[in-house]
């Protein structure tokens, strides 16, 4: 059985022989050939599987994986409990495949205003199992073998394997840090795209660009000017834009989140992705959504109906209730979308101070609940091993988890293979944590500093 073009005749004959032998040995039979599909090649490593396990194995103050360690707001929790224990038992059964009616209706109303579009709830909205599945549908629906997809570094790590699994070629472009003004701390805003460099990445094979604003892990909130730069190139080269906006509400210091689909020429070529997990601090619900023109969304629907088909009903009902409540309070002080970023900005500032106090150099994020810190001053703790394949920051964090009881995520995980070594002195902290957790982290850092500087 010749499964791969690359098999030699010898291997081919060995496999034929082996399978014939196996038919006689019931109970010992094992697949004699590589079973997995070729598309999975190189996709087996995953930073989350590794680091989530570590953080769970050792007692740690966990500022690693991005999830709140406090509760979702009461109004959504109550909505969920009501949905599952209420009169309507049908909320435990299948709902509409492309999105529970109550949810797509309110999403269309809410985001229509924000995107400046007349959004049809049935053709311009699709609900997915988290933003993760939305991304998967984009790539599977619209990226083919031979297509190039531009990814801005640093990037949420799943973009690269998803492009590859769809047979596409990722083309990377880094955000380049500019030195901040004297006396000022570095901000995520100081990391910028070089316009000429960006333009050079667009070729006739470019199918799409992935935009993530606010950006994970850096926290950058792309400005209107930066978005226009990208939009102009998309329009010029007729390229699609997959816009991952899951942290859309988490912007600080009065900055504004711009939705690229609202820029001229962009609605027809953009899929905008959102997440209930980030919006309502309920990452475990796994409810996400996409907005876009019907001629693109219909292809995502085809993928979705052949992949998971329905999304769970009750959580969709609860998210719908949550959005209804927020719709009524939009822009008001009691809106969760106003309160959460205010609360998180304070936590951000607190963590920044803690890190500065111990000599780690934080890069102030304009958005998201992540913060990157440069640990160059801590390099003495963990020796540099130039021949080691594992990036420095990954080794550093493993040491930090085991020896300091503090977990973070290595920033090299958010970079392409070619760039990992250039960005392996940075680690990512997540600050969407309750006061006690941030205080505990602060204490660990203080102790650490004392130990370093001596008695």
């Amino acid at each position: 059985m010749l499964r791969r073009a690359g098999l030699s005749l010898g291997q081919f004959l060995w496999r034929r022989k082996s399978s014939a032998e196996f038919s006689c040995s019931f109970g010992k039979a094992k697949m004699s050939r590589p079973v997995q599909a070729q598309k999975l090649e190189g996709l087996d490593k995953n930073v989350w599987v590794e680091f989530v396990k570590l953080a769970a194995t050792y007692p740690t103050v966990n500022l690693g994986q991005g999830f709140p360690d406090f509760s979702p707001p009461d109004f959504v929790k109550e909505a969920f409990v009501k949905a599952v224990s209420g009169e309507n038992a049908m909320l435990h059964q299948y709902t509409r495949v492309f999105g529970h009616p109550a949810l797509v209706t309110i999403l269309a109303r809410f985001f229509g205003k924000l995107l400046g579009q007349d959004i049809d709830s049935l053709t311009n909205v699709m609900v997915t199992v988290g933003a993760y599945e939305a991304l998967f549908c984009c790539f599977q629906a619209l990226v083919d073998s031979g297509d190039e997809v531009i990814i801005i570094e640093p990037y949420f790590d799943c973009y690269e394997p998803m492009v590859k699994m769809a047979g596409g070629t990722p083309v990377f472009i880094p955000l380049r840090p500019k030195t901040p003004a004297p006396g000022k701390l570095m901000s995520s805003g100081d990391w910028q795209l070089d316009p000429a460099e960006l333009a050079s990445k667009f070729t006739r094979r470019t199918k799409a660009i992935v935009l993530n604003s606010p950006n994970n892990p850096l926290g950058k909130v792309f400005s209107k000017k930066e978005m226009e730069l990208i939009a102009d190139l998309c329009v010029k080269h007729d390229v699609l834009c997959f816009s991952d906006e899951v942290y859309e509400w988490l912007v600080y210091d009065g900055k504004k989140h711009i939705r690229i689909a609202s820029l001229p020429g962009m609605w027809d070529r953009t899929i905008t992705i959102g997440s209930a997990g980030k919006t309502f601090s309920a990452t475990g619900w796994k409810v996400g959504w996409t907005f876009g023109p019907d001629h693109l969304l219909k292809h995502l629907r085809t993928v979705h109906q052949n992949c998971v088909y329905h999304c769970p009903t009750a959580a969709q009902e609860a998210v719908a209730q949550g959005f209804q409540r927020e719709f009524e309070r939009y822009g008001k002080p009691e809106s969760y979308f106003v309160q959460l970023p205010q609360e998180l900005q304070q936590k951000r500032d607190r963590l920044v101070q803690s890190l500065l106090a111990v000599g780690m150099k934080p890069i102030i994020p304009e958005g998201t609940y992540f913060l990157i810190a440069d640990l160059s001053d801590f390099k003495a703790e963990v020796p540099d091993l130039p021949d080691c394949e594992e990036p420095y920051d990954s080794r550093f964090i493993k040491w930090m988890i085991k020896n300091k009881g503090l977990a973070a995520i290595p920033v090299s995980a958010f970079y392409s293979t070619a760039q990992k070594r250039n960005f392996d002195h940075l680690i990512r902290f997540c600050f969407v944590k309750e006061e006690a957790t941030l205080k505990a982290a602060e204490d660990i850092l203080q102790q650490w500093k004392l130990k370093k500087t001596g008695p």
């Binding site: 010749l2 399978s19 038919s23 010992k28 039979a29 697949m31 050939r33 079973v35 997995q36 599909a37 999975l40 996709l43 994986q65 999830f67 406090f70 509760s71 979702p72 929790k77 599952v84 224990s85 909320l91 435990h92 059964q93 299948y94 709902t95 495949v97 007349d118 199992v129 988290g130 998967f136 629906a141 619209l142 394997p161 699994m165 199918k207 329009v235 010029k236 007729d238 001229p264 020429g265 609605w267 027809d268 070529r269 990452t283 475990g284 619900w285 796994k286 019907d294 693109l296 292809h299 629907r301 085809t302 109906q305 052949n306 998971v308 088909y309 329905h310 769970p312 009903t313 009750a314």
Partner: protein, 462 residues
Amino acid sequence: MGRGARVEGMLFVPQRFLCLGIRTQLLKTVSSLRSFRFSALATMASKHKNAKRIEGLDSNVWVEFTKVAADPSIVNLGQGLPDISPPSYVKEELAKAAAVDRLNQYTRGFGHPALVKVLSQVYEKICGRKIDPYTDILVTVGGYGSLFSAMQALIEEGDEVIIIEPFYDCYEPMVKMAGAKPVFIPLRYKKAGNSASSADWVLDPTELASKFNSKTKAIILNTPHNPIGKVYTKEELQLIADLCIKHDSLCISDEVYEWLVYTGNKHIKIATLPGMWERTVTIGSAGKTYSVTGWKLGWSIGPQHLIKHLQVVQQNTLYTCSTPLQEALAQAFLIDFKRMDDPDCYFYSLSRELEGKRNRMAQLLQEVGLKPVIPEGGYFMIVDVSALDVDLSDMVEDRPYDYKFVTWMIKSKKLSAIPLTAFCGLETKEQFEKYIRFCFIKQDSTLDAAEMILKKWSKQIA
């Protein structure tokens, strides 16, 4: 075609759209721009084209028929949607889980620890072998998600996958989306005695053997079977197992209805046959087990060397499933695991309840003069409607008889079902087009309403 002309056309068009307003109406453009528009649209259409893998996979029987049956005046025996309530402890566990802060956040990607642990306990007991909760199990978004993960992980271009007809309709597009070729083999009706039973539908051994070749990567088995309700016997499973071993093929065994087997029948897991554990991925579903289809939780169980590839697919598709749902399911399973030797266990009590409904449904159909195929398992029943000889000549569209019949029945009798040809490949449509499928996991009031319709109908025929 000069790049310059294209670029100009593209820059012009978007500004026109902005003036016209929001909705993308590609034809609403000033006529003087027609030439620009045409080339711009052609370009846009080609760049915005779908990936090849989903070509031809856009139509779906459920999207069509669930829309129709959403009318509350129609008695819906179509889609497999229980309108009975899930057991109260299942709902309570979910409410409890949702109230715990950390259970609203991410859990382990391949399956919530509490859930995979209890699944391994339940299935170890049934399979009589050790099942590692972390390496041998993957929790997915419904049985559907397990089917998708298995196919993406293990099937690719150049492979052939055997599908037994009639089949749950997603098998074919999933095989195609993975780039492989579906090879069909029908269950054939063998007349055996007076009453029609799902046991009368069998595979021809020679025909089955002829479908296996060196390219056969897997066979998809579904037992208990949707839509016929067949529960494969040990001999039938052995036939399939022997061929899998001989040809070194995999078996993807869709056993979502595993608990729903009726008196005189036993559900056998093909993975427990000699030589099969190593080559089988067995799929289960919370939706069917606990009558909570809207929870969309399923699982794949198998040897590590197969499950690890499904796990890689998971981490590159949706990463993790809902936490509160998995926690609640784990608690429900713990309750029933403890009473697995007790007839009160929900796995058995649901089956008993459904057997009563099955018998009632069969009787109602027989009273109209129809001959239902009595299912040995599952919650569907197929019936040959050609005996009713309904005049559908005024329905001109070129569709199989069963599609036309169901459309007519929904309209004129306010009763819905699903046409059986939705579950067949193109070649076998003629064999199955006189059958329609009814779902009987319905509360008494729904079956009462169906009874009224059918009694009225039979009076009209008499």
